[in-house]
Amino acid sequence: MDVRTPATSFLAGVGDAALFAFKAMRLAWTPPFEVSETIRQMYELGLRSAPLIAVSGVAVGVVLSMHTRASLERFGAESMIPAGLAIALVRETGPLTAGLLLSGRIGAGIGAELGAMRVTEQIDALEASAVDAFRYLVVTRVIACVIAVPILTTVMNFAGMLGGFLAETTATGMPFHLYLKRAFTLIDITDYVPATLKTMVFGFIIATTASYLGFNTESGTEGVGRASTRAVVLSSILIIVTNVLLVRLIFFIFPKAAGG
């Protein structure tokens, strides 16, 4: 007798996904390492995402700068705009925005690619060719994302600051060296490192969620579309929720990051 209900099916799915993620984490540390495929994935998932992140970063910087100016002008604290913008970007806006953008760009890509490989029997063909498909397809993408997302977050931060400068210099004619000097007056390494390193977790979430959904795709091309959409939705939700826990953890480990 089949005793499955929607609730038990959901819990079974969560358990299955967790085992999938643990397996990816475990195999990432054990040989054989698929070095060339990992490098290829870093190019595909990382480098090719850089234009999206850079352009978005500039736009976010411009908008943040305009909002910050509107607020600080009331108190005559316009000189604090570069520093306020830098802190907002480095601590939270940069990492979270990069994570969400990449969950769309990378999550959809991995979900669709692996889903299509599943329904066209390419994953079975890998296995039949005596290749560990999980290690070759999943672990390589997980490692590539864990490495690439923090780097792309840093790109986002700098692009955001560039956008902030463009907004500032347009509004006040502020020179670049003065903008940089003011931007880095309040920021230090404890603002940058924990906030950027937490995006390694975002990278892990994006890659494992999308790979899990793609790897387990059913129902042909319709299933591929569903895997791709779910990969974006689920990884975005998980990033937002996990971010709350990570920020709390960072505040606990680095009280200074909380302003303490």
Binding site: D2, A116, T120, E121, Q122, D124, A125, L126, E127, A128, S129, A130, V131, D132
Partner: protein, 249 residues
């Protein structure tokens, strides 16, 4: 026939998907070096049987042997070692669509041999030439017709000179002439390389061309096993009816 002389042995294999028993206590031996055809109507468990032979599926009960290796009990590197002795031509060819046709054929060699790049390319070209696709080395799989994809898939399946070649529905989706060409390639491979050929098909024309022995599955059970001549005179009307059918698809 003893286990030692069998290239493949299915030993009381049962497989259930959901509530449906797809294979029901299936037992047979595939003799080494010949052509063995598994036939039957659609949905009778033919492809599932083939997938058990290469370890893509595991039986719920029973065992599957490749030579003396119980593939149904293997995983990780030992499973890979057994798979290296086998080739698998998928129904859809299952070419890797992100790399060229030539690189598809070279892929198993790059993974499992120490050959240099130039030598791998040369061998991949030879494999493609054997199936009439040497000029198409640099084409992407999406640019090939159905028959060409099948031939490229065959070249990839033969890349490591397997001792056992598993073929899933070689005629599916192909016109009769192309289907005959693919069958001729498989017969050549069997005769020249001495490999064991295991073919799943519901096309009797193809089954007669390829099979020294035929096995008929019906509703997950093996109901007949023998030479084509023996099955032509099988007591079961169902088997005789299938043997006289001329399904070309």
């Amino acid at each position: 026939m003893t286990r030692r002389s069998a290239a493949v042995r299915m030993d009381h294999v049962t497989k259930v998907f959901g509530t449906r028993k797809v294979l029901d206590d299936v037992t047979f031996d595939v003799p080494a070096g010949g052509g063995f055809v598994i036939m039957g109507r659609s949905g009778t468990g033919k492809s599932v049987t083939l997938r058990h032979m290469i370890g893509l599926l595991r039986p719920d009960s029973g065992r599957v042997f490749i030579g003396d290796d119980e593939i149904s009990a293997l995983s990780g590197p030992p499973l890979s070692e057994v798979r290296k002795k086998m080739g698998f031509l998928f129904q859809s060819a299952a070419l890797f669509d992100s790399i060229s046709v030539g690189e598809n054929v070279a892929f198993p060699m790059r993974r499992h041999t120490q050959l240099r790049d130039a030598e791998i390319r040369e061998r991949a070209k030879q494999k493609l030439a054997a199936v009439g696709l040497e000029p198409d080395y640099d084409k992407m799989p999406g640019a090939l017709s159905g028959g060409m994809r099948k031939r490229a898939g065959l070249a990839r399946a033969l890349a490591l000179d397997p001792k056992i070649l598993l073929v899933d529905e070689p005629s599916a989706g192909l016109d009769p002439i192309t289907s005959e060409e693919i069958d001729a390639l498989l017969v050549d491979m069997k005769n020249q390389e001495g490999a064991t050929l295991v073919v799943v098909t519901h096309n009797m024309l193809s089954a007669r061309r390829l099979g020294d022995e035929l096995l008929m599955l019906h509703e997950g059970r093996a109901i007949a096993h023998g030479t084509p001549e023996q099955l032509d005179h099988h007591p079961s009307e169902l088997v005789r009816a299938f043997m006289t059918s001329q399904h070309a698809g």
